[in-house]
């Protein structure tokens, strides 16, 4: 056991705050990431969410040091880290394709980061065993990665990233290559690891469910720009615009004329249709978009806030049916 003085304000993540200050990255004439400002607190789990090409992976690679910035700076407390090469940052990274070293057994993969740091053999063996036990792979330690299943490979990749006790863990769509069942399992696993180890984590995904389930805060990106930053509850319940709303499962977006608004209450109407809702952002034009989540619909014959539809496509989803009309 090493004695580590617990400084006031210094929490489990090993730093107080990581600050991204106007971080930008251009590729030729396209801007992949445009002046991202984000402060991550020690111990926090942040999800970067958006479709492919929104800049989320670019942001992660900039954090890791794998991509040089074309503008802005990154600060870890008072230390500027963006000029540092990746090997000097002490961040652990989990890649989408796992990137396990195919010629090294599981033990060699997990121990790699310790070996290059010159950690003595006995301590290395102990820490590797510990990490493998944490991801429940102790019995696979001597196999080559090619002999493991996708889920096992991903767990090796996670063990390899956390065994170096990183100041920050970066995960680039780590679950997207797994099948649906395994994905749910690993999601829980990642959450469990985060809660027990308290590692500050930045997690990139295009799956809003994953982001909402895992993160303390979600950063929604589009075309390299931040659309919204907030807790899962905030972005889910109060999306700031239709883009975020669409991403958060408001699958019904209806643009309708505004006939009256007072305070936050808005009435939208069209012949045969009249909706009353609450405004989420200021609007000026003659029309507004009503965003309605599928699970908020009730099938019935009521008059208020009712939409008459003819069913055209119906999909069976177990307890629900997806209906298009």
């Amino acid at each position: 056991m090493t004695h580590q003085s617990v400084l006031p304000g210094k929490i489990r993540g090993g730093f107080r705050a990581l600050r991204m200050d106007g971080v930008s990255r251009r590729f030729g004439s396209t801007t992949a990431l445009d002046r991202l400002d984000l402060t991550i607190e020690g111990g926090e789990f942040i999800a970067l969410l958006g479709p492919s090409g929104c800049g989320k992976s670019t942001a992660l690679n900039c954090l890791a040091g794998l991509l040089p910035l074309t503008g802005g700076s990154i600060w870890l407390d008072d230390e500027r880290i963006d000029p540092l090469p990746p090997e000097k940052r002490g961040f652990g990274m989990v890649f989408q394709n796992y990137a396990l070293f195919p010629h090294l057994p599981v033990r060699g993969n997990v121990g790699f980061g310790l070996a290059v740091r010159g950690i003595p053999k006995p301590e290395m063996a102990r820490r590797v065993d510990e990490a493998l036990a944490l991801v429940e792979l102790s019995d696979q330690a001597d196999k080559l990665p090619g002999r493991l299943s996708g889920g096992q490979q991903q767990r090796v990749a996670i063990a390899r990233a956390i065994v170096i006790r990183p100041r920050l863990v970066l995960m680039d769509e780590p679950l997207s290559n797994l099948d649906a069942k395994l994905r749910l399992q690993m999601r829980t696993e990642i959450r469990r690891l985060h809660q027990s180890l308290g590692l500050t984590t930045v997690y990139v995904t295009h799956d809003q469910e994953e982001a909402l389930a895992l993160a303390d805060r979600v950063v929604v990106l589009r075309h390299g720009l931040v659309e919204q930053i907030g807790s899962p509850e905030q972005v889910y319940t109060y999306p700031v615009n239709t883009y975020v709303a669409g991403f958060m499962g408001y699958r019904n977006l209806l643009e309708l004329p505004v006939i009256a608004h007072e305070g936050g209450r808005v009435i939208l109407a069209e012949p045969g249709l009249r909706l009353i809702g609450v405004a989420q952002e200021p609007f000026g034009g003659p029309t507004a978009v009503a965003a309605i989540r599928p699970d908020d619909f009730r099938v019935g014959a009521g008059q208020a806030n009712a939409i008459r539809v003819t069913v055209e496509v119906a999909e069976f989803h177990g307890r629900e049916m997806a209906v298009e009309g």
Binding site: L66, P85, P86, E87, M93, N97, A99, P102, G113, V116
Partner: protein, 299 residues
């Protein structure tokens, strides 16, 4: 009628289960070429080598070869050229291929320039070397002018001339092979190693090189075999009577100067044996290495 048709289908399915189907016919041309142009001449040559012109038992030619130091020294003279040439060509290819892997502007023209010597004939290269490395050539003139040497150094009509010629003609092959092996390694692996704290040299040493080594061994074998059969440059820029009297020259002299086809066949067979020896050693060493997937495309 219908019954025999069904039986035929059953038979065809049985055969297909064992991998026997019409696609097998695609192998016919290759098998024909192999038998007519390789297998038969090789066996004929081996047979010929066992029938010495002067008699004295089936192995008389082989005994004569090793007893006569003028003949047996050709083995060492050929190895002395082929081994360093193959080693240097493979070794020089690695850093260049490492830099040229992946996509960037100017990769194509650069690769083209590096591969260009393939299109030059050995004779052309030999002629160029005679002028360039000769006592009045550029190379010596530059050395003399900057005062590094006081008289021209001899680089032609000896060992060095042949070695340079082997390096020039052999490099493109080695480079192209190494480049394709290098491109087969997933670049994410080095990025992963970097995030784990490995510096540039550690990444090469622990990730790229181990994954590349089986490819390097294959490349070395091919480069070595190519250099081992050196003949024109050993004559043109070497000293074929002495220092660069390689096995191919000895075989040529036996066949076309002494008209002893049996002895020529013996030397040819021995060339094959010595090449095989080196190949087996390399493969044995290689068998202890990881040779599976390297993660990249085309791996």
């Amino acid at each position: 009628m219908a019954a025999t048709g069904a039986a035929r289908v059953v038979l065809r399915h049985r055969l297909a289960e064992r991998g026997i189907d019409r696609v097998l016919l695609l192998l016919v041309p290759a098998v024909l070429v192999l038998v007519l142009l390789f297998l038969y001449p090789m066996l004929y040559g081996v047979g010929l080598s066992l029938q010495p012109r002067a008699g004295g038992g089936v192995l008389a030619n082989y005994q004569a070869f090793f007893r006569d130091s003028y003949q047996s020294s050709t083995v060492w003279k050929t190895m002395r050229l082929a081994l360093p040439a193959a080693l240097v060509n493979v070794g020089a290819s690695v850093p260049i291929a490492y830099r040229l892997r992946g996509r960037f502007r100017g990769r194509r023209p650069l690769t083209a320039i590096l591969v260009l010597p393939v299109t030059l004939g050995t004779v052309l290269v030999a002629d160029g070397l005679l002028r360039y490395l000769g006592p009045k050539g550029w190379f010596n003139r530059v050395l003399l002018d900057i005062g590094l040497v006081h008289e021209p150094i001899r680089l032609i009509y000896n060992y060095w001339g042949v070695l340079f010629s082997l390096l020039i003609t052999g490099f493109p092959f080695a480079f192209l092979l190494v480049l394709s092996y290098m491109s087969g390694i997933d670049p994410t692996l080095e990025r992963a190693a970097a995030t784990l704290g490995a510096g540039p040299w550690q990444r090469v040493r622990h990730i790229t090189l181990p994954l590349l080594t089986p490819g390097l061994a294959t490349t070395f074998i091919l480069a070595f075999v190519l250099a081992f059969s050196v003949f024109p440059s050993a004559n043109l820029v070497g000293e074929p009577a002495n220092e660069t009297r390689v096995m191919a020259i000895a075989a040529y002299q036996a066949a076309f100067e002494k008209y002893d086809y049996s002895m020529a066949a013996t030397i040819a067979v021995l060339m094959g044996v010595f090449e095989l020896l080196v190949i087996v050693l390399v493969l044995l060493w290689c068998g202890r290495l990881y040779t599976g997937s390297t993660g990249g495309k085309g791996a």
